[in-house]
Symmetry: C2
């Protein structure tokens, strides 16, 4: 299951999950020890400067994970 | 469980899930009938023009959902 996801320990902060995408973009998700998730979107050509950063608290993370995972049923 | 997520049917395309975030950003996820997920990030002040769009195929979606949902164990 580790295929396509690289996990890096960020001591004192949390864990970083780098996810390779087939598009020109690349994703990195930092799961912070305080529960906040930061999603970074990078251009393939510039892995230093994220194009955008999304910060999700635990409730928001649950919603996004449910929609992406197909376990959200709102109707 | 519908709290915080608004579901809109996009006939012939799929379903749109609008997720309110506590930050200045807002997320919309379109689950297309062909399995592709599009994540749109909007600024609160401009809900017409997304700041960024992320397109995930089914494999990428699984990885992101696993990391966000806390069910990814890479080590």
């Amino acid at each position: 299951m580790g295929h396509g996801v690289e996990v890096t320990e960020l001591f004192g902060i949390g864990k970083k999950y780098t996810i390779g995408c087939s598009e020109r973009q690349q994703l990195a998700i930092i799961v912070r020890d305080d529960g906040i998730r930061e999603i970074y979107v990078f251009d393939r050509k510039d892995s230093e400067h994220p194009k955008t950063v999304i910060e999700l608290d635990e409730e928001e993370t649950r919603r996004v994970a449910a929609v992406l995972g197909g376990t959200f049923f709102g109707d």
